[in-house]
């Protein structure tokens, strides 16, 4: 008996010893692992890096206050170069490192590729920028949320602007054949045709990265289009816009938020003047957005880039949800996200049951004097 007892004691002591040696390990498990995925290098890095900065700003503030419910947030940053085939690796790596929530991905194609991995691991994912419709509207990804409106809302904005606001009837719709641009263009085509007033005179896909777009520009001219609606990213948009100016076309150019990026203005230069682009709703008068920009300037000595507000909002919403839910369990987080409003740079938002932010939409911008200005 005695022996047994002492054995128990030894066991207890051993457990205590282990417990004493464990603090490091306990601490590590006691952080909230916050994944950040997006293009951080490569030609689309300018879409991804602002999100990293936004998350850093929010998380550093939370950590400075002692974290959430006593747990610090640890950031795990992974690059997906905006490529679907790499995004699956990125997601697998983050999941194996034990992330509990993920900010990202940035590009639609990469996000679609990565989502099944997060879904199987029951991890909450929130993107500031992936706009492709199926992510929320298909209902396939119950763990996906976003702080940007889906494409489905972008296409009618472009079509409506061209037909009703500018009063143009002959529309050419061009896209880059990609996961992002093509559905957008198809949506715009449908919206123009359904509107009844306008007519789609040309609908075509171009090859991204080609040295020269003179043939398609001539074709636009031949079609007699008064406006071009382009679904795609800024490198192709700036080449087409420059070529249109070279060929002396007076056609209006209307595009999506893949073009509403300062890099577009920088690259296209004076040819960018007058180009219209849809972008996330104007938040320049939102107090929290102004404060966030100031924080960014103080911390990084530069202006924030694309999707900064959305990423700041997503991080804020997720941090808030973890705090209110008291865990990182997907169902608990979803409940908070869907039921409670949170103040963010993109407005006072909550999310619908599909995962889209309620009250977040698009505005139309035009390049005027080297800047995107909201068109009223």
């Amino acid at each position: 008996m005695k022996l047994m007892k002492s054995k128990k004691l030894i066991a207890a002591a051993a457990v205590m010893m282990m417990a004493m040696y464990a603090p490091g390990a306990v601490n590590a498990a006691d952080t909230i692992k916050f994944g950040i995925a997006g293009p951080h290098s490569g030609d689309l890095a300018s879409y991804g890096l602002p999100s990293v900065n936004a998350a850093k700003l929010v998380i550093d503030k939370v950590n400075a206050k002692g974290g959430i419910n006593g747990k610090k947030i640890e950031m795990l940053i992974e690059d997906d170069v905006c490529k679907p085939e790499i995004a699956t690796n990125t997601a697998t790596k983050l999941v194996s490192e034990g992330v509990q929530v993920v900010l990202g991905h940035i590009c639609s194609g990469a996000t679609v590729a990565a989502m099944p991995i997060y879904r199987d691991a029951k991890i909450l994912v929130m993107s500031p920028s992936a706009t492709t419709d199926p992510l929320t509207l298909s209902g396939e990804y119950p763990n996906f949320f976003r702080t940007i409106a889906p494409n489905a809302a972008q296409s009618p904005t472009m079509a409506d602007f061209a037909v009703n606001k500018l009063g143009l009837t002959k529309i050419a719709v061009i896209h880059d054949k990609g996961d992002y641009g093509k559905p957008l263009a198809e949506g715009a085509k449908k919206a123009v045709e359904d509107g009844g007033k306008g007519k789609v005179v040309l609908f075509e896909g171009i090859t991204p990265g080609a040295v020269d777009y003179s043939a398609i520009v001539q074709k636009i001219k031949q079609s007699g289009a008064e406006a071009v609606i382009f679904g795609g990213y800024h490198p192709e948009a700036s080449k087409i816009v420059s070529m249109m100016k070279k060929k002396r076309l007076k056609t209006e150019f209307i595009s999506d938020d893949g073009v509403k990026d300062d890099t577009f203005i920088k690259v296209a230069g004076k040819d960018a003047e007058g180009v219209y682009a849809v972008g996330p709703e104007d938040v320049t008068s939102n107090k929290m957005s102004i404060a966030a920009k100031e924080e960014h300037k103080a911390a990084f000595k530069s202006d924030p880039g694309a999707f900064f507000d959305g990423a700041y909002a997503a991080t804020t919403a997720m941090v808030n949800a973890i705090e209110k839910a008291g865990s990182t369990d997907l169902e608990a987080l979803k409940k908070v996200l869907q039921s409670e409003k949170v103040e963010t740079p993109v407005g006072n938002i909550n999310f619908d049951e599909k995962g889209d932010a309620v009250g977040v939409g698009y505005s139309m911008y035009q390049v005027q004097g080297g800047k995107f200005v909201v068109v009223k």
Partner: protein, 300 residues
């Protein structure tokens, strides 16, 4: 008819752009039988060099012509240095290895140079200054053909003629042809084969640099990836025309450019590449050595 002419000129310009790069591919292949996949990257480095030099010079307020000349010369020297070094590091040690080895080495070099520029410079798209101005006298036809189109066409034609003359009539050219025909024999008659191969790489790289400057100015933007995409098309054009043949590279480029232009204009730009590569397959089926290529006789 106007539409046809516009598409035709657009296609010719596109072809001339491919040709500027394809000439370098075809020269190297003609002399040492290696497909230099890093050639597209040399072109990209030429574009970056001229971008940097032109930007600096324009800050100091140099006149445009001086900027173009100095940037062009700088790009030629810098790219040639890269071409020379790439050959020495990646291809020369493999000269007696099986044919596949230098090919893989070339692909490796291409990936290396892309990522080197990505890391050393930037991943962003950069706005390339308009080094070819819009000539006032071109204004009446500007909607059909631009000033930069004309300059590219003329440059391509001039380079093709100079290259042909150099290879046909100069000592270096003769040595090059001798090296191409039989390297061992060329060595036996006293040709410094290593030096001739270096010269080939330097000339090819210089052409790529000129292409880099002109094309970047025409397109208006550069990033580290432009060499790869343009290289693939230029390579296709070189094969189409008969790789190893200089007029063939130009002809192949023009055929490819025109095919793409007309495919976009009369069918759909969705099928641009489908038409371009179908044409390549067809030509290679009926004329495996390309349009102007010589049928290779296997030495036993």
């Amino acid at each position: 008819m106007d539409y046809f002419i516009e598409l035709f000129l657009g296609g010719i310009t596109r072809g001339a752009i491919y040709a500027l790069i394809a000439l370098g591919y075809t020269m190297v292949y003609g002399i040492i039988g290696l497909i230099n996949f890093a050639h597209g990257e040399i072109y990209m480095i030429g574009a970056f060099t001229s971008f940097i030099v032109a930007t600096v010079l324009s800050i100091y307020g140099f006149p445009l012509l001086a900027i173009v000349l100095i940037a062009g010369v700088a790009a030629v020297i810098w790219s040639s240095a890269y071409g020379y070094t790439v050959e020495k590091i990646a291809y020369k040690p493999l000269r007696h290895a099986p044919r596949l080895s230098p090919l893989i080495s070339a692909i490796g070099m291409s990936v290396f140079l892309q990522n080197y520029v990505l890391l050393a410079q930037t991943s962003d798209f950069l706005p390339f200054p308009e080094l070819i101005p819009e000539f006032a006298f071109m204004e009446p036809v500007a909607h059909i053909i631009g000033s930069s189109d004309i300059i590219i066409l003329i440059t391509t034609a001039v380079i093709m003629i100079i290259l042909t003359v150099v290879i046909k009539f100069t000592r270096v050219g003769k040595a090059m042809r001798a090296t191409a025909q039989d390297r061992t024999m060329a060595m036996l008659v006293g040709i410094n084969v290593n030096r001739i191969i270096s010269a080939t790489f330097i000339i090819g790289s210089a052409l790529a640099a000129i292409g880099g400057l002109l094309i970047a100015s025409h397109v208006g933007q550069i990033n580290f990836y432009i060499g790869f995409l343009a290289g693939i098309k230029a390579f296709t054009a070189a094969v189409l025309g008969g790789i190893g043949s200089i007029p063939g590279a130009v002809l192949g480029s023009l055929v490819l450019g025109l095919t793409e232009s007309f495919a976009t204009g009369y069918v759909s730009s969705d099928y641009e590449d489908v038409f371009a590569f179908s044409l390549l397959v067809l030509i290679l089926i009926f004329k495996p050595s390309g349009l102007l290529g010589k049928a290779e006789t296997k030495k036993v």
